[in-house]
Amino acid sequence: MADAEVEVSNPSGLHARPAATFVRASAAFAADVTVTNLTRDTLRSASAKSVLGVMGLAVARGHRIRIVAQGTDADEAVARLTELVASGLGEAIDGE
């Protein structure tokens, strides 16, 4: 098992396109990956491979999330997804 916490800093949080980017990246791993929105509700988590689950966490800019992975490539999954979120999920962090 591997886990990490990261702050979401891109303007639209984990809505719409960034959520889709995140889910597509998660789907590439064999590990089960879950996400929790630590800022909003620490008890509720969702599969990182479900766009509806991820969107339902209502992660906005400035929220902290925890990513937990379990399975053969868990370490790699957490490292990759954390980096992806930290770098803005394809959105410019300052919103251009």
């Binding site: 889709a20 766009v51 980096e83 992806l84 770098s87 803005g88």
Partner: protein
């Protein structure tokens, strides 16, 4: 007898046609096809519609559809539907209920953006259910005004544009997706019309006045005639704009300046040319690198670049090499955090740390150019001095040697670093064009951070210091027969900025296509000698505000 319903004006234009009522989840019968198979088919359909939207330059709506394609195969939606089937529901009803449950949970969270995504989930579920029951996609049989509570982007783009006369919605606002999409597709639309869906089944003809926000049920002859006159006036106006699109960017006395477009995606090229662009003066290539998990390879990039060259049909396309770093971070290129990213390792300065980035891009541009059979123009951003230019020319030469049948590219530099402006006479003889990026040049010249709102007033390209810098670049360009000077910053798309640039002697103005009309009108109203005198005098004023006044009150 005419009845009138008042709503919100969403997209201008007039339409008179039979109403066609769209219902999201009208189930015609029990499910035939299995859920998983129907969901995959729905995801494929949605993917195709997203491509159609991208081709029309509607990136924001295309992204909604991208997310919807993922929703269609989402395990959470399928698990929820599966549970309902296990307790006896028809599978098509189950998927609609599952979508409804997710939408309701989104709406319960109290986040407006998320609540709006609830509608996207309902739309996806309705599509899957429709495929399961074997019903046909919603289709217009004759010219119609489409009536609905809300019309999802996926349905709007799926309907036959030739038969879609107008849109009238009971729900929605001016900023809802349906309204934005109707405006961009040029479909007259009225939204927020209370009582519409209830009234329409008894109506045989519907008229809408999109600019006034009015819907007429069974319009009488007098109303129809009045609306027909309105429609004709609208056509006259758009014919006028279309005339302007194909007219040249020229002063009143006939001095011609190249009217070029700035684009950020391959799909924007065609629209830019039909709006009247004579060239693509700035193709920002960062799109190829953004939103990906790994660097795009040469073949992938070449395909995107070839698309733009084909759309240009022989007109010039200036590819700006990736301007990454600073304000445009990229996921898979680990960049060190910097205290001043605008003064940091960005654009061509990344060449050392990421040695494959620029060579791969250069080979991709040359490969696309060879494939289409058209020369490419290559522009290097952030060139500060001759050693930067040495590096760029060496990389271009290496790429040419590596690509068989490469056509000789035109090579130019972006003028945005003040040192390059001071050295313009040294750089100009070694390049074929210089294009001034007025946004960054202004920030660097006036030492005013673009991202600092407190300094926004200092970010004015009309500042006499910026005008003097531009004059210096133009002078350097003129002293070399083969070096053209262009401007590709926002100043080129501002009518006042454009007047000064033409007066300063710039050969090409590159801007967002929507600015073409205003810039052509402004430049066409003045003569070249007047503009030359104005630009010369402006360099001796004290502030940007004084320059603005001088241009506005000038001859």
């Amino acid at each position: 007898m005419t009845r009138e319903l008042r709503g919100t004006a969403a997209a201008p234009g007039v339409a008179i046609a039979a109403p066609w009522l769209y219902r999201a989840s009208a189930l015609d019968g029990p499910a035939g096809r299995p859920l998983a198979e129907a969901a995959r088919a729905a995801a494929d359909e949605i993917g195709e519609l997203a491509t159609r939207l991208r081709d029309r330059g509607r990136e924001a709506e295309a992204e909604i559809l991208d997310a919807q394609a993922l929703m269609a195969i989402d395990p959470a939606l399928h698990d929820s539907a599966g549970e309902r089937v296990a307790s006896g529901a028809d599978p098509a009803v189950a998927i609609i209920e599952a979508g409804e449950a997710v939408a309701a949970s989104f709406e319960a969270i109290g986040d407006e953006i998320l609540a709006a995504r609830g509608a996207d989930v309902r739309d996806v579920a309705a599509r899957i259910a429709r495929i399961m029951t074997g019903a046909a996609a919603p289709r217009l049989e004759r010219r119609s005004v489409v009536v609905a509570r809300d019309l999802p982007p996926s349905v709007t783009v799926e309907l036959d544009r030739a038969l879609l006369a107008g849109i009238a919605l009971e729900g929605g606002s001016r900023t809802s997706h349906a309204a934005i999409l109707s405006r961009s597709l040029g479909i007259p639309a009225v939204v927020g019309v209370a009582g519409l869906c209830e009234a329409v089944p008894a109506v045989s003809e519907l008229a809408i006045d999109g600019a006034a926000g009015l819907v007429y049920l069974d319009p009488d002859a007098e109303t129809a005639a009045r609306l027909a006159t309105l429609a004709k006036d609208g056509q006259d106006r758009s014919a006028l704009d279309a005339g302007l699109a194909s007219s040249a960017l020229a002063t009143a006395d006939g001095h011609l300046v190249t009217c070029a477009a700035n684009i950020g995606e391959p799909a924007e090229a065609e629209a830019a040319f039909s709006a009247g662009a004579e060239a693509i003066g700035l193709f920002r290539t960062e799109f190829a690198f953004a939103g990906r998990s790994s660097a795009p390879d040469e073949v992938t990039q070449a395909a995107a670049y070839a698309e733009v060259l084909r759309a240009s049909a022989g007109n010039e396309v200036v590819f700006r090499l990736a301007d990454i770093g600073g304000d445009k971070p990229i996921a898979y290129l680990p960049l060190e955090p910097e205290a001043n990213p605008f003064l940091g390792v960005r654009a061509i300065r990344l060449a050392e740390r990421h040695p494959e980035l620029l060579p791969t891009q250069l080979r991709a541009i040359l490969r696309a150019s060879a494939e289409v059979g058209q020369r490419a123009s290559i522009m290097a951003p952030m060139v500060a001095d001759e050693s930067d230019l040495d590096l760029v020319l060496r990389l271009v030469a290496d790429a040419r040697a590596a690509v068989p049948d490469a056509l000789t590219p035109r090579v130019g530099i972006m003028m945005e670093v003040p040192s390059a402006v001071l050295l313009a006479d040294r750089l100009a003889p070694r390049v074929e064009f210089m294009s001034i990026g007025t946004n960054d040049l202004t920030q660097y010249l006036l030492a005013a951070d673009r991202s600092n709102a407190a300094l926004a007033a200092r970010q004015d390209p009309l500042h006499p210091a910026v005008l003097r810098a531009i004059a210096r670049v133009v002078e350097a360009g003129r002293s070399v027969p083969a070096c053209e000077v262009a401007v590709c910053g926002e100043m080129a798309g501002d009518p006042i900025g454009a007047l000064l640039l033409v007066g300063l002697g710039v050969d090409e103005l590159s801007m967002e296509p929507r600015a073409f009309g205003a810039v052509k009108r402004a430049v066409g109203a003045r003569t070249l000698p007047d503009l030359v005198a104005l630009a010369a005098a402006a360099q001796w004023l004290s502030t940007a505000a004084e320059v603005r006044d001088a241009v506005e009150s000038g001859p």
